[in-house]
C-alpha cells in the first residue's frame, strides 16, 4: 500500500493557518529525525519491502512512537469535492503503520515490553483487561446501583479504563441516565474490547467474537460506549475483522446524552448565574478515525449557561492528546509532552474547562495538568463531558 506514497513531504509540515502536523515530531522538537514521522517512515518501509533492510527490535522502538492520531493522513488528504487529492484514495497512513506493527509482532520484534504486559493481561482469563486488575474489580462499581438488568435493547459496553481508573465518571453517567429514566443492561462477562491489542498489532478474534456474542445474547439493538477507543473498535474494527455487519448498532455516549437533552430528559439545576467557558478536545478515535465531530458540540451547546469556545486546532485539525497508539504505556514522557501542548492551547482560548469524551484522553490530559505550574492550573480544569453534565443536575 505505501508504495503509492510519493514522499512529497506534504504530510509533515504545518499547513498555513491550520498548524496541522505530527504531534510526535513537534514533541521531539529539534531532535525529530525523519524516522519519527510519516515521510521518513514511508521511506524506511519501502526499503523493507524491497528487502534491503530487516525488521528489528530497533525499528519497533521507532514505529511505536506514534499515537496513530491520523494527523498525517488528514494533512495528506486535504481535499474538497471539486479538487480531490488522488493519493487520498489509496494511502491510509494509520493502516500502513498498523500493518507494520503487525509484521513486527509476527516477526517477534514486538510487542515492546510494556505493551506485552498489557496484551498478556488483556488475554489473561482472570483479568481480561489491560490494567492487570482482577476481572471482578471492573464490576465492583455496579454494587452502587441496584437492579441492573441483564438484557435490553440499549446495552452499555463499559470498557476497561472508566471502571478501573475513572469510576466516578461512570457513576455520574449512571446517575444522569437514571435521572433521565433510562435503564441500561451491563454484563459482568464483558471483556476488553481489544483496542489496545489492535493498535499494538496483536489481538485475537476470540475477544471480538466473545463480546459480539455476549452483546447479542443480551438482546442489544444498540450498544453504546463512553470510551472513544471502545467506540471506534466496536463500530469500525469489529465489522472489518469479522467481515460482516454487527447484529446491533454502535453509538457513543454523547449520542445518547444528546438525544436525552433534545427531549428535555435531563433536568438541570435552575438559576445558575455563572457562565462556564468550555473548550472541547476531539479525541482522535472519535474525530479523525470516525469523522465524529459535531455530536459532542451539539450536546455542549444545549447545556445551560455554557459557552463553547473552540481551540485553534479543532475537529479534523485537532491536536492529539498524546496517549493513543500505545504511546502512553510505553513512552509516557512523550505522551505527556504532547498533552501539555494541548492543555496550553486550551488555556489560550480563555476557557475555564477543557472537556472531552474519551477516558484515555482525560487520563493523559489530567496527568499533564498535574505537571502544570499552579498559576496555569488555576486557569483551567480538565473534566470529562459526563462529569460536566452531572455537575449541572
Amino acid at each position: 500500500m505505501q508504495k503509492g506514497c510519493g514522499e512529497c513531504g506534504f504530510a509533515i509540515n504545518p499547513m498555513v493557518g491550520i498548524d496541522l502536523t505530527c504531534p510526535v515530531k513537534e514533541a521531539l522538537g529539534e531532535e525529530a529525525f525523519e524516522i519519527y514521522f510519516s515521510r521518513g517512515r514511508m521511506s524506511v518501509l519501502k526499503s523493507i519491502l524491497e528487502g534491503s533492510i530487516p525488521l528489528s527490535k530497533e525499528l519497533a522502538e521507532y514505529v511505536y512512537q506514534c499515537t496513530e492520531c491520523g494527523n498525517c493522513t488528514e494533512t495528506c488528504h486535504q481535499s474538497d469535492e471539486h479538487v480531490v487529492l488522488n493519493v487520498s484514495r489509496w494511502i491510509d497512513h494509520c493502516k500502513v503503520w498498523n500493518a507494520l506493527r503487525k509484521d513486527l509482532v509476527e516477526s517477534g520484534f514486538a510487542p515492546l515490553e510494556k505493551h506485552n504486559s498489557l496484551i498478556e493481561w488483556m488475554n489473561d482469563e482472570k483479568m481480561k483487561n489491560p490494567y492487570g486488575e482482577a476481572q471482578g474489580k471492573k464490576f465492583e462499581w455496579l454494587s452502587t446501583f441496584s437492579n441492573i438488568k441483564d438484557r435490553g435493547d440499549l446495552v452499555f459496553f463499559e470498557g476497561c479504563t472508566m471502571p478501573l481508573r475513572q469510576v466516578n465518571t461512570l457513576k455520574n453517567m449512571m446517575k444522569i441516565l437514571q435521572v433521565a429514566g433510562i435503564e441500561v443492561p451491563i454484563s459482568k462477562e464483558e471483556w476488553c474490547c481489544g483496542s489496545i491489542g489492535l493498535r499494538i498489532g496483536k489481538c485475537g478474534e476470540d475477544i471480538i467474537r466473545h463480546n459480539v456474542e455476549l452483546l447479542e445474547q443480551m438482546g442489544a439493538k444498540t450498544v453504546f460506549s463512553a470510551c472513544a477507543g471502545c467506540y471506534r473498535t466496536l463500530k469500525k474494527d469489529y465489522p472489518e475483522i469479522l467481515g460482516k455487519e454487527l447484529p446491533f448498532e454502535v453509538k457513543h455516549i454523547t449520542e445518547i446524552l444528546n438525544d436525552l437533552l433534545a427531549n428535555n430528559q435531563i433536568p438541570f439545576k435552575p438559576n445558575e448565574s455563572e457562565v462556564l467557558k468550555v473548550t472541547f478536545h476531539d479525541p482522535c478515535h472519535l474525530g479523525r478515525h470516525m469523522n465524529f465531530y459535531e455530536v459532542p458540540r451539539e450536546l455542549l451547546i444545549k447545556i445551560p449557561n455554557l459557552e463553547l469556545i473552540e481551540m485553534k486546532r479543532n475537529r479534523a485539525h485537532s491536536w492529539c492528546c498524546g496517549a493513543g497508539g500505545g504511546v502512553k504505556s510505553q513512552f509516557s514522557e512523550l505522551a505527556l509532552k504532547i498533552s501539555m501542548e494541548r492543555i496550553y492551547e486550551a488555556i489560550e482560548t480563555g476557557a475555564n474547562i477543557l472537556t472531552t469524551s474519551c477516558p484515555f484522553c482525560i487520563g493523559n490530559l489530567k496527568d499533564a495538568y498535574n505537571r502544570l505550574q499552579p498559576e496555569d492550573q488555576f486557569k483551567i480544569k480538565v473534566i470529562d463531558l459526563i462529569d460536566l453534565i452531572a455537575s449541572k443536575i
Binding site: 512529497c8 513531504g9 506534504f10 499547513m15 498555513v16 531532535e31 519501502k46 533492510i53 487529492l85 488522488n86
Partner: protein, 506 residues
C-alpha cells in the same frame, strides 16, 4: 583514512549526540527524494543548529574526504538532496528554521535556510506581507535554502515576481572548506543589516543561486518581501482546440501589454481529459469539450485598478477564442483555489494514478516554444511505446501517460515546463521488478535528452539530469571548464553534493 565510527564520534562532539545518527533506520529515512528510482543511503545524518557547526562538519569532511549532501525540505527530484550512492554525511537543515529579522521599513526578511516557504509566508501574513514568488509547489515542506539552490517557482506569484532567487538580497553561505561568507550588502563588514544584493563588486550571491548545492551550504537567507495587495480577481478559461498555441499566444500578449499578472497557469488537455476518469478534478467533468484550460490571477491596490486590469486580460483571452468558465470552483474556476491554497496543486498532481510514479522534472523555456515542445513530447511517447508496453506487460493495464503538468508563466517571457511521464512502480505484487526501474530510467533519460536538445533550461537538476547534461555535451567545453574550475577553487576535495554535474573529484 579513519573509520566512519571515529568520524561519528567527532561529529557528536560538534552537535551533541542527540543531533547525529548512524542508525540504519534513520539513514534509510533520508535515503530518497520524490523521484521514484534513485536511492542513496547516507552513512551519517546530522542536524546542525548554525553555520558554525556546519563549518566544523565540513572541515572534518575535508580532512577525511567524506561527501556531504545538504538537505532542506527533501522535496528535490533526481538525487537533489540524497547522496550519490550509499555514502557520506547528510546535513538535515530543517533544524535551522528560525526567522531572524523582519525589517518592516526596508521590507526584507532574514531567516535560517531550513524554514519552509509555507511557514515563512504564514509568519509574514501577520504583517500583510508575502515573499512574492511563493517558492516551489512543494513549499509547505520545501525550504527557502533549497528554493534558492534551484531558482524555484511553482507555488504562485512567479508570473509577477519571477523565480524566488529574484527576491534574494543576501546569503550567508558556508563554503565547502568551512569558511563562512555573506553576500550582497553584507559583503561590506560595516553594513548593519542586509539591504541589497548587488554592489560591493561582483554578484557572488548569483554563484550560489541555482547551484543545486555544489558551491556552498546556504545557512541564512534575506529576501525582499512585498505588501499583499488587497484586491484580486481570478478567472479560468477553456481554450480553443489548439490549446497549446492559444495558451502560448495569450501569455505572449499579456507580456506585450505589460500586465502584471500574479499567475497565469496552463493546464494542458491531457490533464483535463484524464483528471475526469481519475477523479482528480471532478469540477471539470462538466466540461463538454475536454480541452486545455488557462487561468489567471491578478492583484491590485484598488478596485478601479483591478477593474482595468481584468478588462484588459479578459479581452486578450476572449480575442483568442477562449471561453470563460463560471466564477465558482464548482464551475471549473480553478484560479481562486490556486490563489488561496498555494502549494496544494503540486501535492494534488503528485501521482495521479495508484501505484504509479511520476518521472518529471522542471525546466524553463520561452513561451513561444511551448506548442512545439508539447507536440514533440507526444511524438516521443509514440516512439517509445515498445518500452512502455514491456512495463505494462508486467503490471497489467496501468496506462503510461506522458505530457506536462501545470505550466506556469514566469517572469521574462518564459514558462515553467514540467514534463515527464507517469509510469508503473517497480514494486508490484509484493516484489520488486528491477527491469521496470531499468526501463523507466531508459525512457526518462531519452526524454530528458530530447528536451535538452530543444534548448530548455532545467533548474532542479539533481544528480541525474545535471550529469546527463554534461554527458550529452549540453555545456560547451569552455563553460563546463569554468563551472569545474570554480568548484575546484571552492571545494578542492569535491566533498559537497558530490556527483552532481558529473563532478566527482579526482
Amino acid at each position: 583514512m579513519i573509520k566512519m565510527s571515529q568520524v561519528y564520534q567527532k561529529l557528536q562532539k560538534i552537535v551533541s549526540k542527540n543531533f547525529v545518527s548512524n542508525d540504519l533506520y534513520v539513514r534509510h529515512a533520508y535515503s530518497r527524494n520524490v523521484n521514484p528510482v534513485l536511492q542513496g543511503v547516507p552513512d551519517i545524518v546530522i542536524r546542525p543548529k548554525d553555520a558554525e557547526e556546519i563549518s566544523e562538519i565540513l572541515k572534518i569532511a575535508n580532512q577525511e574526504n567524506i561527501p556531504i549532501i545538504p538537505r532542506g525540505g527533501g522535496c528535490c527530484e533526481w538525487g537533489g538532496s540524497i547522496p550519490d550512492g550509499d555514502t557520506g554525511i547528510l546535513l538535515d537543515m530543517k533544524r535551522m528554521s528560525n526567522i531572524i529579522n523582519l525589517d518592516q521599513d526596508n521590507l526584507i526578511v532574514t531567516a535560517e535556510s531550513g524554514i519552509s516557504w509555507g511557514a515563512l509566508n504564514n509568519y509574514l501574513s501577520q504583517f500583510g506581507l508575502y515573499t512574492g514568488c511563493l517558492g516551489p509547489g512543494s513549499g509547505l515542506t520545501a525550504s527557502i535554502g533549497g528554493g534558492i539552490s534551484h531558482h524555484s517557482v511553482g507555488a504562485g506569484g512567479c508570473a509577477k515576481y519571477g523565480a524566488c532567487t529574484n527576491q534574494l538580497v543576501s546569503l550567508e553561505v558556508v563554503l565547502p572548506t568551512g569558511d563562512i561568507i555573506e553576500t550582497g550588502s553584507q559583503a561590506n563588514q560595516f553594513s548593519k543589516f542586509p539591504f541589497n544584493r548587488f554592489g560591493n563588486g561582483p554578484d557572488l550571491a548569483g554563484l550560489f543561486c541555482g547551484d543545486n548545492g555544489i558551491y556552498g551550504v546556504k545557512t541564512k537567507v534575506s529576501l525582499r518581501v512585498f505588501p499583499r495587495p488587497p484586491f484580486a480577481e481570478y478567472k479560468t478559461f477553456l481554450l480553443p482546440r489548439k490549446d497549446a498555441q492559444a495558451a502560448s499566444q495569450i501569455m505572449i500578449e499579456i507580456r506585450r501589454k505589460g500586465i502584471d499578472v500574479f499567475d497565469t497557469i496552463y493546464m494542458p488537455q491531457v490533464i483535463i481529459a484524464t483528471s475526469g476518469p481519475l477523479g482528480t478534478f471532478p469540477m471539470w467533468d462538466i466540461l463538454k469539450k475536454k480541452r486545455g484550460i488557462l487561468f489567471y490571477t491578478i492583484e491590485a491596490n484598488s478596485e478601479v485598478e483591478l477593474e482595468q486590469k481584468v478588462k484588459q486580460l479578459d479581452e486578450i483571452f476572449l480575442n483568442n477564442k477562449s471561453e470563460e468558465l463560471g466564477p465558482e470552483l464548482s464551475d471549473g474556476n480553478f484560479a481562486k483555489w490556486q490563489y488561496e491554497n498555494p502549494w496544494h496543486l503540486y501535492h494534488n498532481l503528485w501521482g495521479m494514478v495508484p501505484a504509479s510514479e511520476p518521472f518529471t522534472a522542471e525546466c524553463f523555456t520561452p513561451i513561444n516554444t511551448l506548442p512545439e515542445l508539447i507536440l514533440d513530447t507526444q511524438a516521443w511517447e509514440n516512439e517509445h511505446k515498445e518500452d512502455m508496453n514491456q512495463i505494462t506487460k508486467i503490471t497489467g493495464n496501468l496506462l503510461i501517460l506522458s505530457g506536462a503538468g501545470p505550466i506556469a508563466m514566469v517572469d521574462g517571457n518564459n514558462v515553467e515546463y514540467t514534463v515527464g511521464f507517469n509510469t508503473s512502480d517497480s514494486y508490484y505484487n509484493g516484489k520488486k521488478h528491477k527491469i521496470i526501474d531499468k526501463l523507466n530510467l531508459k525512457l526518462w533519460k531519452s526524454l530528458l535528452i530530447r528536451m535538452f536538445k530543444h534548448g530548455v533550461q532545467y533548474y532542479m537538476f539533481g544528480t541525474l539530469p545535471s550529469s546527463l547534461m554534461v554527458e550529452i555535451g549540453g555545456y560547451s567545453l569552455e563553460y563546463y571548464n569554468l563551472l569545474k574550475s570554480i568548484k575546484k577553487i571552492l571545494d578542492p576535495n569535491c566533498i559537497l553534493s558530490r556527483g552532481k554535474f558529473n563532478l566527482k573529484g579526482d
